[in-house]
């Protein structure tokens, strides 16, 4: 497929560092706006939600990499580590905003994690992602070999937990969390053997060379 090949050639020239820099800049910009009254009447809630949503968007982007290559032949795999680490970075800022600026007490943080199902679910997702963030480097990939791939499948349950966490915390049936959970479920469903092995109407071979354990 000509278009995909051209696209892949341009993508190969792009560095991954802007993902890191952009994430840090966005997080800092949000915090600065919150501190200076730019996030409206309830800046803590706004900041907490913005960080959490950024993490979910990055998670969805990361999950889309493989299906996009398989179905459309577009290869974004060189950005996947950056997407994953940026996602974890936003999860950390989300957690810190919640714990330090919102809940404000160690006792209640712990009580909420145990007692509040949506916090439990979100926290479980974050804990699952911790070993993934710690092994998102070349040395770990080499050292762990095929175990690395198995380990990083933890992102699947973690993504579901993240989507459910969002849906559980809103009142009523709201659109955004439903769409996000649907996207996550859809991207995970594409990994089911029956869909994974399907022949998509795209010439194979596009971008396959660049495949790596990452």
């Amino acid at each position: 497929m000509k278009l995909a090949d051209d696209l892949n050639r341009s993508i190969r020239r792009l560095p991954a560092w802007p993902v890191y820099a952009g994430s840090a800049a966005y997080a800092g910009w949000l915090f600065w706006r919150g501190a200076t009254g730019g996030l409206g009447a309830n800046p803590v809630e706004a900041l907490e939600h913005a960080y959490g949503e950024a993490a979910l968007y990055l998670l969805i982007a990361g999950l889309a990499v493989t299906p996009l290559r398989r179905i459309a032949g577009i290869n974004l795999i060189r950005f996947r580590r950056a997407l994953g680490l940026a996602c974890f970075f936003f999860l950390t800022t989300h957690l810190l905003t919640w714990a330090v600026l919102d809940v404000q007490s160690w006792g209640r943080i712990w009580a909420d994690i145990i007692k509040r199902p949506y916090v439990t679910v979100g926290m479980a997702g974050l804990v699952l992602l911790l070993p993934l963030a710690l092994t998102s480097n070349d040395r770990s990939v080499r050292r762990l070999g095929s175990a690395w791939r198995r380990l990083h499948r933890l992102v699947y349950p973690a993504a579901l937990l993240g989507g459910v966490h969002y849906l559980m915390l809103v009142k009523g049936w709201q659109m955004k969390p439903l769409v996000m959970l649907a996207l996550i479920s859809g991207l995970l469903a594409l990994r089911l053997p029956v869909l994974r092995d399907m022949r998509w109407p795209v010439p194979r071979g596009a971008g396959v060379r660049a495949e790596s354990p990452r």
């Binding site: 501190a35 009254g37 409206g40 009447a41 404000q104 559980m168 009142k171 009523g172």
Partner: protein, 340 residues
Amino acid sequence: MAHRWTNTLTERDVTPEAVFLNRRQLIGSAAFGLALSGLTGRARAEAAEAPEPTDWDDITGYNNYYEFGTGKGDPAKYAHRLTIAPWSVRIDGLVDRPGDYAFEDILKKMAIEERLYRLRCVEAWSMVVPWNGFELADLLALAGVQSAARYVAFETVLRPDEMPGVSRPVIEWPYVEGLRIDEAMHPLTIMATGIYGRDIPNQNGAPLRLVVPWKYGFKSIKSVVRITLTDTEPPTTWNKANPREYGFYSNVNPQVDHPRWSQATERVIGTGLFARRQPTLMFNGYGEEVAGLYAGMDLASSSDGGRAAGPVDLPDLRPCRVRDHADRRVPVLPRVRRLR
């Protein structure tokens, strides 16, 4: 008819110690509420201790009004589409004079007062709002409440053409709410038509909305088009949507957590990114006035499910109860700000 509710204390009860009390005690105490509203001359020292009314921009820019969208900014963005004139309220059910009451006609007969009330949302945030409005009891008296009436049902306007949020089934439309008759007749219960002396903005429930300051905010139904007096407990929107989380009574109660979050503390809107949370008060600080309404009831159930307590024996509440208070009028102070 109006200005029926006042504190029982007078200026003479105020001692200079008031000045030394901290702000939280001051907000929580009826006595010093009067100190702030009644003492125009000496008020300056105490005024510094008064709860700051939330900024106009925050009160009118951070709203839950799902008919216009679920985002806190959606109502401010879209509510201008709502046509609020002409407006009428249908009052029916167990009343002597059922019918459609035009908003202007209602206004002509009501005395508008300012009420500075705390507003505590079930989502654990709070504001302090200087409402303008009249007591619901006065409006109900217009229609003449029959003695068989035990509950009051309310309904919000439903206009799909003007309300972008109702195209999605987030909750069931139209929004409905309800009060027990004694709650509805309580002098703290008002219909608000203004904020900060200005007409109430659409996103806050124009042209008239209920305000029940001791209950979670969702009980204070907006843009009311229908009020029905009944003898059975009316359905309420959030209770229908999730009976485990939202009860009929939904009184503010820091001891009973929402199943998904704590109600012990609240975030005060407008205090910024680094502000401390504030402890939530029983009945949102109006316990002295309203705790009696729930005597003998399980308070956990009055803030939550509401049904565990079983049928409630109501005192004999005839509508004339309203008039019993009518002669207890107090001189109207210029620009009285009723703290509480």
